[in-house]
Symmetry: C2
Subunit: 217 residues, 2 copies
Amino acid sequence: MPREVRERQMLDAAVEVFARRGYRAASMDEIAELAGASKPLVYLYLNSKEDLFSACIRREATALMEAVRAAVDPAAPAESRLWSGLRAFFAHTAEHPAGWAVLSCQARTHGEPFAVVVAELRQEIVDLVTRLLAETADGAAAAGERDAGGAGALPGHEVSGLAHALVGAAESLAGWANDRTGAVPTAKETAATLMNVAWVGLENLMNGQRWTASARP
Amino acid sequence: MPREVRERQMLDAAVEVFARRGYRAASMDEIAELAGASKPLVYLYLNSKEDLFSACIRREATALMEAVRAAVDPAAPAESRLWSGLRAFFAHTAEHPAGWAVLSCQARTHGEPFAVVVAELRQEIVDLVTRLLAETADGAAAAGERDAGGAGALPGHEVSGLAHALVGAAESLAGWANDRTGAVPTAKETAATLMNVAWVGLENLMNGQRWTASARP
């Protein structure tokens, strides 16, 4: 069997075991057994438990980013890019629940070398969403100036905060969808749930309509 | 010095060191030094690094929940409960950045005993938000029936998904606000950022107005 096939089987097994047991409790014996390989071969190919975990993280992060990128047409309007990106994100996390568990839970621990890889993936997604929102905000501001009733551009720090809120909401929803038993929502339903709450608010905000506490009960 | 004062100093120091170094890299020497206590005394009072970390998690989780609960008047309308709760949440996480770092990053690692405490805290907050949204949805549905143009109740699983989205957005925003250098937003500004996007969408949704992909570009 070619090495790359063997390695893929080892990584598949490792992702499953890390997701099920957690990094610390996962044993190389269980990973080797699930991969149908000997433990010395796992060590020979992937060096150590830490290196194996890092390889899992890198592979799962790359696959998730590629799935999202492939779904988004850069020439489409912001709203449909967000909608396509969210559907791809929820479809990928639903199809790879162990990979998502490893990325979202295990790998966030501060101070560990692999945390850096996950932080970079997250930053890449946040940057994507930030650009999307900034572009929408600029478009709305330009339209507002033309109409002379102008909203003015949304401040950059607020765009950045909104991007973080949206990414956090999507991460949390992906975990919720994967944890559900019984009626599991489709990726499209989960993406629509988020668009339902987020897009209308974003659109209003881009057009200068803010929620105000004082006008409310 | 009474034991409870000493223990509080040790926990204060431990939260700082765990936030800065991560659980694994944190040393009991550094914690003892920062607490101005001897290492044997730290072990005598708090037993082990793992028990010390668990005690930190429990204390920080309890303080955060209490701050949110104290700010929310159970008799107020849902919208102002959400607004008060969010402001209290962002104020507390901003005032206790190390505590929030420990809760949100270190403590999520699957398969560790302390992960259970954090999962319980998170579930408690999700339940609070779920009840708030369910109540709003029921109120809107009842009003809709009265008006006979009724929206009908929002399905329970969608309310649950929305609550998870909102909690994830708030968690992510708290990290974003604490990581900012320069113009740090106030808790009120961060809470308003979230209300801006979330509340309008929620209100529409409760009244049966959904975002639809087909009607959009």
